[in-house]
Symmetry: C2
Subunit: 414 residues, 2 copies
């Protein structure tokens, strides 16, 4: 079984991220990634090697929603069973059954991955202080870049769930109303300022009923896991449309997520505190213990004709001022019901230095300072054929776990 | 069968609105309202009196989503079949079968109604010129009350689908971050400025794929029908939170809709044009024919101890500057995929005069001019125990059709 694991992989034994996969001609079903393989959980469940729900099987579903609905006790139990089945010296029922082990481990190269869960609703936050400052300076007033509410609450807005797609994805350049500087009226045309936003997505695995609030601790318990998220944005559309009710069509044409959900359990060793508070938070947002994670993230850009990608940003999830648990507690503060499959975007993750910004808007100062790429080309915003790849990894060599990649290629406007 | 209909009802033969109902101890299923009865469509389908999908039955479902998914040809066919079954001189298979007719017509008084469809996503627009002007004057600057984009596009934002509830509903007064005038920091407390918003909701019955735009005509074809919608709002929370990304928790605690979906087919006789354009629209938003409706709407308020309600606003859907078809065309302009069960709120419907405003915020000028109620009480914003009832009716006596009521009672904060 050593072959399923290897030191350089994003998916060592201590990761076990969940996804939904199929081989050609077979139905989509749930699995976990281990090394260069997918472990077929539907098969293990069918063979009686996993004790999950006792009732109907959950892993033959083409989404993880049914499994998530069983709750955190069951998530932890299945993780323990999987660790036992896969580690030497544990439960040897799988390792002793060469035929079953062989069928259950499907090479990653042979599978197609789908969205790992049905997205109930998608909410996007704005929780990087540096990003809020950078964008506030450009879209509004550098003197008052940070809105007065920003240090008191994780600002968020409802996004569009119907266009969340799984990596690798083709993203069609959107049309939208765009008004040029000095013009009285807008025109309908393809966005010329297409951008990415480097984010992490938290997946709500347990529901909360309408009318109830959540503590940060309760909120953290409800989170099943995390994926990398690219909140593609049309900046020229956004500038014209976003006042007074927020972004709408400028963010509605596509949001990419990575296909493997890295569980909260796997991320435990990398827990860390959010940055020091500049102003004390209200009680309902205070964290009883570290609720953020130390996860290195980067963004690479590869033009259509380039042979290699250029890494254009390196940052870390821990820079975020608000954790996903705080975001979720705030999301429910009015009594808003939360649903299994809700996706919470962290907001663009921009670190404190120029090379750590999470969008082209910030990296190129609104298009004024083009970025040089490795192949000699330069970029202000994305061009057709550009491939954007985001990666994330927690820990150091030997105990690192990764998220795989979240990539997308820009298609020309239709 | 005359007893099923009557001249004063909201639900005469030419209406036939769809809902989901059950009697005590029975499962929820689909029906249409006719006079004081619900016609049990699951029963008719089971008896072979309706030719619907040939495949699996759709009306035994506890939502109308499966029926909507069959498309507008089928919607029209079922309407014709129902008109035939219910009208004298038509298809007499139901009228000739007294036992079946008796079982199929269930008194409205004996049923419980549920949400008529599974809400996929909820989008709220801002399409009343008077409302945008009134709110812009209060929240921002009276000199520049209308945002520069307002006359060019139906401004909208994504709302929260998980808290859409069916009338009659109990709405729990929400907590939220509220900052008092002159205070540096907010507090968490129950909203003291709880408000309603009188809206119409359009229900998307046909999907559109990611990456495709829609003409206004195509968008209109995709709309299945309309309900009254109350977008409950916490104004004190909204003021503090809404910049820069729009309303979030101030609108997330509850949205009520009326239980009967009045179909586009039933509303055809009441089609009318949207108001004259003040600035020409871009082509993709131009209406090839009348796309709005002449529907009288009103709001009544009844305090806990009052024996009667007071009508506090009378307005008309036709005042809206943008139709639901225009809103939907704009919603998809970026290539945003639309889903069966998407709910589009029209935005608060405020007419040109003070008595026709669609929210307390406007009716009381931000709480500065209390409203006198019939029982001698006055109101600036909603108090615990207040019952808000919205009604809508198209046409004049003899050919009128109604929407029933959308009502909700305010419960004290928890």
């Amino acid at each position: 079984m050593e072959s399923a694991n290897d030191a350089d992989t994003d998916f060592p034994l201590q990761n076990l991220p969940y996804g939904v996969f199929r081989q050609a001609g077979q139905p989509f079903r749930c699995g976990v990634a281990i090394g260069k393989y997918v472990l077929d959980l539907a098969l293990l469940e069918g063979l009686g090697l996993l004790d999950v729900a006792r009732g109907r099987p959950v892993f033959a579903d083409p989404s993880l929603n049914a499994f998530m609905s069983l709750g955190s006790f069951c998530w932890n139990s299945v993780r323990q069973q999987l660790l036992n089945l896969l580690a030497f010296g544990g439960d040897d029922r799988l390792q002793a059954n060469a035929e079953a082990a062989n069928r259950a481990l499907v090479p990653l190269n042979d599978v197609e991955l789908s969205l790992p869960f049905r997205v109930a609703e998608y909410t996007d936050f704005y929780s990087s202080r540096q990003h809020a400052f950078n964008v506030g300076s450009m879209f509004r007033d550098p003197e008052n870049a940070l809105p007065p509410n920003w240090l008191h609450m994780p600002i968020g807005y409802n996004g569009r769930a119907s266009t969340v797609v799984v990596s690798p994805s083709a993203i069609r350049r959107p049309h939208g109303q765009i008004r040029d500087l000095g013009q009285p009226a807008p025109a309908l045309r393809p966005s010329a300022h297409l951008d990415f936003e480097l984010e992490m997505g938290a997946i709500v695995g347990s529901p909360s009923p309408i009318g109830s609030r959540l503590s940060v601790e309760q909120a953290d318990d409800m989170i099943f896991g995390y994926v990398i998220l690219n909140d593609w944005s049309a900046r020229d559309v956004q500038t014209w449309e976003y006042q007074p009710l927020g972004p709408f069509q400028s963010k509605a044409f596509g949001t990419s997520i990575s296909p493997w959900i890295v569980t909260k359990a796997a991320l435990e060793p990398f827990r860390t505190s959010t940055p020091d508070r500049e102003i004390a938070l209200l009680d309902y947002l205070r964290e009883p213990r570290p609720m953020s994670y130390d996860i290195a993230m980067d963004v690479a850009l590869q033009p259509a004709n380039a042979t290699v990608e250029t890494v254009i940003s390196k940052t870390n999830y821990k820079h975020l001022y608000y954790s996903a648990a705080q975001q979720l507690a705030h999301h429910a503060v009015s009594g808003c019901a939360m649903t299994i499959g809700d996706l919470l975007g962290s907001g663009t993750i921009s670190g404190p230095t120029e090379g750590s910004y999470g969008s082209l808007l910030e990296l190129t100062r609104g298009g004024k300072k083009p970025l040089r790429l490795g192949n000699g080309e330069s970029r202000t915003f994305l061009e057709d054929g550009d491939k954007v790849t985001m990666r994330a990894r927690a820990g150091k060599k030997g105990n690192a776990i990764g998220f795989g990649a979240c990539s997308g290629i820009v298609l020309p406007a239709r």
